[in-house]
Symmetry: C2
Subunit: 497 residues, 2 copies
């Protein structure tokens, strides 16, 4: 019985793998190179295949088999696999297929409208679609589990075990400790030089710098590829095929550099998950841990002095006229400078979590009814003013800046801040085993990646993320590492007593 059932599950998983690869490839293609006018045809076919995949993923016979298997003698991995599959059934099966497919199509239109609205700087183009997406998500949450608070359901989707209570405590810390520090730093903007970063930076040269960094970070073209898209992202096709993208802006040198480092953090994670888990649910790692790996690369490693020991020379050699008089320390201090700003993805390490806080509070309010969905834009602008002291000049730099809400990814944003907090705790543990600065200075990312693999990546999704943190660091999740790290770093950098 058990072997027969496991075989049936394996065949079912194989089916899922094929559709997932097809949809992943189609989506990556669409976001990178596809000509704009093909979108309607694409959307129709992608929605159709999503529907087929939905039917496979909600096959009641498979659910029955999975439930029967629970009483068999299984190893820990098998148990976990079944648990995760049943969680997916729970997530999907109560949503009627027609609603599911209609929602996929709605999201595609909504994303298109979001893009148009952003270009035209007109929130009213997007608003009706956003309201439909919100209504659909509320409906789905009610269908899934009417006894739970809707936003708790969504938060758990993106980070297993998290809920509003836990996030409230986390963001309270950020408000209490970081907002006053940001306020102080805002008043000391002359402490660090950043003037030399202004002006125009040739995109072909930026691309050459990417090659230097890819090599330094061991992002190997035999298993990885970097495309170009409007917003950088990472997409895992398979163990040996991990894609990232980047975006180039002539007036922002640091954007492509830190996007590359960030996405490479994601990519290395995907590539170091055990190959045995390839294409299975044991690859569906937590978003929080994922963001911890990318933000660790971007901030905890990429903004260190030692990271630039070798890489800064390469940068200077690309723009000798611009950078030859700027020493490495001045450059590294500049890439760590903090200042309240409009755009999350370009935000510095210190103000970043405040951007997330704003989104968290709005999402929470949308789902508990305390925020009026017809006044989301005003709410956004008020919170930007309140927390960061910034006036939003136009909606494309305000509520329209991120794609996430257009496809209903509510509950996703908070994992970004959580990931940064995980990262701080991981780095603290890593430092006990590895002299990180020496590794970076001597171009030895391999040692760091070996540590990541043995302590974090090796688990895939075979254990919950909070358990990974305990195993990797020897203690349970503690946001104090993050708060203290930022607090000390920025007081020091801006010489605040």
């Amino acid at each position: 019985m058990k072997e027969e059932a496991m075989k049936r599950i394996k065949a079912w998983q194989d089916e899922i793998k094929a559709y997932q690869l097809a949809l992943t490839t189609m989506s990556y293609d669409r976001l990178t190179v596809a000509p704009e006018n093909g979108i309607d045809y694409y959307s129709e076919q992608a929605a159709y295949l999503s529907g087929v995949l939905y039917s496979i993923q909600t096959d009641p016979d498979i659910e029955k088999t999975l439930n029967e298997l629970k009483s068999e003698e299984l190893n820990a991995e098998q148990k976990r696999m079944i648990e995760l599959h049943l969680k997916d059934f729970d997530r999907l099966k109560r949503i009627p297929k027609d609603d599911y497919v209609a929602y996929q199509k709605l999201c595609q239109v909504s994303e298109k409208k979001w893009e148009e609205a952003k270009i035209k700087k007109d929130y009213s183009i997007f608003e009706p679609y956003l309201l439909q997406v919100i209504a659909a998500q509320k409906k789905f949450c009610a269908l899934r589990d009417a006894t739970k608070e809707p936003y708790d359901i969504l938060l758990d989707d993106y980070e297993e075990g998290m809920d509003q209570k836990k996030y409230d405590a986390f963001f309270a810390l950020i408000k209490e400790k970081l907002l006053p520090l940001i306020h102080e730093i805002t008043l000391k903007q002359d402490a660090l030089r950043t003037d030399f970063l202004e002006g125009s930076w040739d995109i072909e040269k930026q691309k050459q710098m990417m090659k230097v960094l890819q090599k330094y970070l061991n992002f190997d073209p035999s298993w990885g590829y970097m495309g170009i898209s409007a917003h950088p992202f990472t997409s895992c096709f398979s163990h040996n095929d991990v894609r990232i993208t980047n975006a180039y802006h002539e007036n922002m040198l640091l954007s492509s550099i830190f996007s590359l480092i960030h996405e490479t953090g994601h990519a290395i994670y995907e590539h170091q998950i055990p190959e045995a888990y390839e294409g299975t649910v044991l690859c569906n790692v937590s978003m929080g841990i994922h963001e911890s790996q990318s933000r660790m690369y971007e901030n905890n490693l990429g903004r260190r002095m030692s990271f630039w020991n070798r890489n800064y020379d390469e940068l200077v050699s690309l723009w000798p006229d611009r950078l030859k008089d700027i020493d490495q320390e001045t450059f590294v201090r500049a890439v760590n400078s903090a200042k309240p700003s409009l755009i999350r993805t370009e935000a510095d390490e210190l103000t970043y979590p405040v951007h997330i806080l704003i989104r968290y509070e709005i999402e929470k309010g949308i789902f508990d009814g305390s925020v009026d969905c017809r006044r989301l834009e005003e709410t956004w602008n008020q919170k930007m003013k309140e927390y960061l002291g910034i006036t939003v000049p136009d909606t494309s730099q305000g509520i329209l800046q991120d794609v996430h809400w257009s496809d209903g990814s509510f509950g996703y944003f908070p994992t970004y801040a959580l990931g940064s907090a995980y990262a701080a705790q991981f780095i603290n543990a890593m430092q006990k085993d590895i002299d990180i600065d020496t590794a970076l200075a001597y171009q030895d990312m391999a040692s760091i990646q070996k540590w990541q693999k043995e302590r974090i990546h090796c688990y895939g999704a075979s254990i919950p993320s909070l358990q990974i943190i305990e195993n990797a660091t020897g203690e349970s999740f503690n946001p104090q590492y993050y708060i203290e790290y930022l607090y000390n770093k920025y007081r020091d950098l801006y010489q605040i007593k």
Copy 2:
């Protein structure tokens, strides 16, 4: 009854569309940007989805419905659609699904082995897989129709209505009229200057020239995209999403230029087929007509003096030091020069059909048994010597140069020469309506493309290709246009009396 049945067919076609787009996208991705190490996982998933598509495409209930519909009152397009679908059933249904899927996987391995063999210049690496592919194709032909000669079945797959008898007559003309001319020209190699094309041509500048040509040819980025791959090709995703690729070689300026023009000929065709046919079998146009459009762009238009009236200045502006002393006429004569050479895809217009002749004779011999499959490499080399007077220095420039046989595309090559012959006849008819040289000189590809659309592209596959030729040119296919065109052009160019 009829409406119900047509609805069922429509739903079935919609299913097929989705899988075809998925497989097209996955294949394009694989051939352009995918990291090499992901190929095994990709192959498995693509084979799986091909199998699902196969099951849909051979659904016996649908075949029954299609046959029932034949007796209903239908318009010409509906009749043709049903005819083409039933032809596809005939092609597929007698091949057992397991054999079909196994064959897809075999082809993927075989293609990989072909690539390895080509790189290592060792035919023996590829040979055992080629033999398996041949054996499978022979087996499939026998299953499909044991009463027909296998190669006739394959020739008809690629060009409806063609068979060995017709191709024999066509290639006999080429042997009779062109081989002696090629021999004469080989002895007059000092008649045209080509020396200035030698040396190195910066790839970034080649890419800039591509932008000039894309614009000139109306290849619009809103519905088209050009990627990079080992060998140039065109792939139609949908009416408004047509992809081409190109390959850049530092030592060959003309290669990327004429590849772009060639592939754009394919792309314009796909984009100008009526949108109403999108994703249906009425888009599956003949390979011969397809090649006629690409080779017409490449040769009959792209190698004309008037084509370069504006484009040559752009070329000179990219390489002023190299080209400022070469006048347009010298350049255009050089791009029309002919000389027996090793590689089909780089061959000039005159010797090109001889490369196809060689492949045709070998394919014919493989399937009628007159060529020993264990001596294919020797046979190839002998024919190159006999027809073109060339000694093949290594197998990568001989039998291993083309991908086609690795995935069993026997019967495909002959359509390349046939397409060139169609093109000559089309150009002859077009000239009666349009002053082609004026259109080209004044950057007016639109007039030419309008003619193509109204005379050729508008049909899609709604009528057979030989009928398209009659409709477009007012007479049935006549290869004499091609032979005379080449004969006169090259006698004139090389001043042969």
